[in-house]
């Protein structure tokens, strides 16, 4: 039985975890950095422990300090949230070695998803379709692989993320120079120059499946579409993925469950797919072994509290939810409100929100850590809140989103709220089913 839960995170997700922990009668202990002593989540927590200095490296990313703070506070479990140490196998191991429960999957699952190539191999082993391509240990094998894969293709960094080390190659003549650049970028950014080659999918959608597993069985809670991205950062997420033929949609969720069962997955996870927007063929990309930023859209359409499910499984219980009991109701959309000036190339805008009026009403949920006068420190991620709307169908959700964003008022810092108002009014978005190129086209008129 988890009685004292230590939350090793900050911002809106810390507050999100706190809410469920309190509802379940747990004592919620929050580890904070010096910059977050008076944060929203700290004011709401039952107990607050100082982990370290304001820079993440001295607090939220410091395994030793976080584990010591949790242990010192007498916690019996640690929830890592997303980002920071959430998918760090060494952290999960350290928490367990200190005699506490790590609210996350088995260490082996974290390690299996260690880099993109390992994830790809695990996908193949589980019998899932992956994007045609393969490993390229050096230039010679990259050339050979490119011959097989065909053009246009993508060169990706094995340890990559956020689009760095990724190069598109349209013709054989460009291959050598692009390999050099990709390897150099990958080495500089990730300390690992290894690359692999993949066929380039011209019009792709980012579709992911929420799964829950208890080590023996796994179920899915439907799809999410996160195709609206800027530089590989998600801006808008919806559930379910819109406009995918039912048979394909079913095949995608089945593949995700198959993958989770292949890993004997424990806890909440997200299996990511690239879906060809023209013919709906789909390819496994990777699995995120943690709670996702966009989890509320799934909660909205299923009524399942994903943090509660994580805590139950972490506590050693079997899933009580069965696939047949999961019902899907309507459509949900989430927009991420970031402290960024989108009119100045998304320049960060830390500071103080003098006014923080978030939308309210039926079918509207706001997950935020910004109250009136709330500080947005310059040290961390720019996410200040998420507006989630739920409608009977997508059309109603879109209407609700536009109306909710009309009322949102944040003053004192620049935010992306107005950008989302423009997206909500865009004809392509209103029609639904856009691909990952949407934002680039949208931003350039």
């Amino acid at each position: 039985m988890i009685r004292r839960l230590f939350i090793a995170n900050r911002g809106e997700i810390a507050w999100r975890i706190l809410r469920t922990a309190k509802r379940l009668g747990m004592t919620a202990i929050l580890g904070v950095s010096e910059a977050d002593v008076e944060s929203f989540a700290a004011r709401m927590a039952d107990e607050v422990v100082l982990v370290g200095g304001a820079p993440s490296a001295e607090s939220y990313l410091n395994i030793e300090k976080v584990v010591a703070a949790a242990k010192g506070a007498g916690a019996d479990a640690v929830h890592p949230g997303y980002g920071f140490l959430s998918e760090n196998a060494a952290f999960g191991r350290a928490v367990r070695e200190a005699g506490m429960i790590f609210v996350g999957p088995e260490i082996a699952s974290l390690e299996a998803m260690g880099d993109k190539l390992m994830a790809r191999k695990a996908g193949i082993a589980a019998g899932l379709p992956v994007v045609p391509g393969g490993e390229a240990a050096d230039k010679e094998s990259a050339r050979a692989q490119a011959e097989v894969t065909g053009y246009p293709l993508l060169i990706k960094a094995v340890s990559g993320g956020g689009g760095r080390g990724m190069k598109r190659v349209d013709a054989p003549a460009q291959l050598d120079s692009q390999i050099d650049m990709a390897m150099a970028e990958a080495l500089a950014a990730f300390g690992d120059s290894r690359i692999y080659v993949e066929r380039f999918i011209g019009r792709g959608r980012h579709v992911e499946v929420q799964v829950l597993g208890d080590g023996e069985t796994a179920i899915h809670l439907g799809t999410r579409d996160c195709s609206i991205q800027r530089r590989f950062q998600k801006l808008v997420e919806e559930a379910p993925a819109f406009g995918i033929p039912a048979a394909r949609h079913g095949a995608i969720t089945s593949a995700a469950v198959k993958f989770a069962e292949h890993l004997n997955y424990r806890g909440a996870g997200t299996v990511e797919f690239l879906v060809d927007a023209t013919d709906f063929s789909f390819y496994f990309l990777e699995m995120n072994a943690r709670i996702q930023v966009e989890h509320p859209v799934t909660e909205a359409i299923t009524g399942v509290d994903l943090i509660e499910q994580q805590l139950l499984v972490a506590d050693g219980q079997k899933l009580t939810l069965e696939q047949g009991f999961v019902e899907f109701d309507g459509h949900a959309i989430e927009v991420r409100i970031n402290a960024e000036d989108f009119e100045k190339d998304f320049r960060p805008s830390p500071g103080r929100a003098v006014v923080a009026r978030w939308p309210a009403g039926p079918g509207i949920r706001v997950d935020t850590h910004i109250a009136a006068g709330g500080a947005v420190p310059p040290y961390y991620d720019s996410l200040i809140g998420k507006v989630i709307v739920h409608g009977r169908d997508r059309a109603e959700a879109v209407k609700k989103l536009a109306a909710a964003l009309e009322t949102l008022r944040i003053e004192g810092i620049a935010t992306t709220a107005l950008l989302h108002r423009k997206i909500a009014a865009d004809a392509r978005f209103v029609a639904g089913g856009v691909d990952t190129k949407f934002f680039e086209a949208f931003a350039h008129g």
Partner: protein
């Protein structure tokens, strides 16, 4: 049950539904930790949480006026963030005291919300003094360096 339990999105939606049926435009709900203000706004409603003991938010004035008042050129931080003199730990600094700079010379980087922003000199001359301390926080418009005009 005390009011310590957080309000859920459903709770807030219910309060809005009740308020919507009344002629009132505003409802304040005070709990042991915070005050929730529901406000009618056009066709919809907003919610705002505040913490009672908070002093009213004051605009933070840039404390650098005494430096700026002096003669000579200064390079300021474009953003609040962490000031770095070199592109990465262990690398050579972008500039040292005595370095010549042009307007587009990169003299430092400032890290804000995981994003690196290059700081350009914005003027021509010789770096006279490096005011900000490496790897420490600087405010927006803080003076980072002083430059002697060429």
């Amino acid at each position: 049950m005390s009011f310590d339990l957080p309000l859920t999105a459903e709770d807030v939606a219910e309060i809005v539904a009740i308020l919507d049926k009344t002629p009132y435009d505003r409802l304040d709900l005070r709990t042991s930790r915070f005050t929730l203000k529901i406000l009618r706004s056009g066709e919809g409603f907003t919610q705002e949480i505040s913490f009672a003991e908070d002093a009213p938010a004051v605009a933070v004035a840039a404390p650098e006026s005494e430096v700026a008042a002096e003669m000579g050129l200064v390079i300021r931080s474009p953003l609040p963030g962490t000031f770095y003199r070199a592109p990465q730990p262990g690398a050579a600094a972008f500039v040292e005291v005595g370095s010549a700079v042009e307007p587009d010379t990169v003299v430092a980087i400032v890290e804000t919300m995981k994003l690196m922003t290059s700081v350009m000199a914005g003027c021509s001359g010789i770096v006279e003094e490096i005011v900000a301390e490496n790897a420490k926080m600087v405010t927006a418009d803080a003076v980072l360096m002083r430059v002697k005009p060429a």
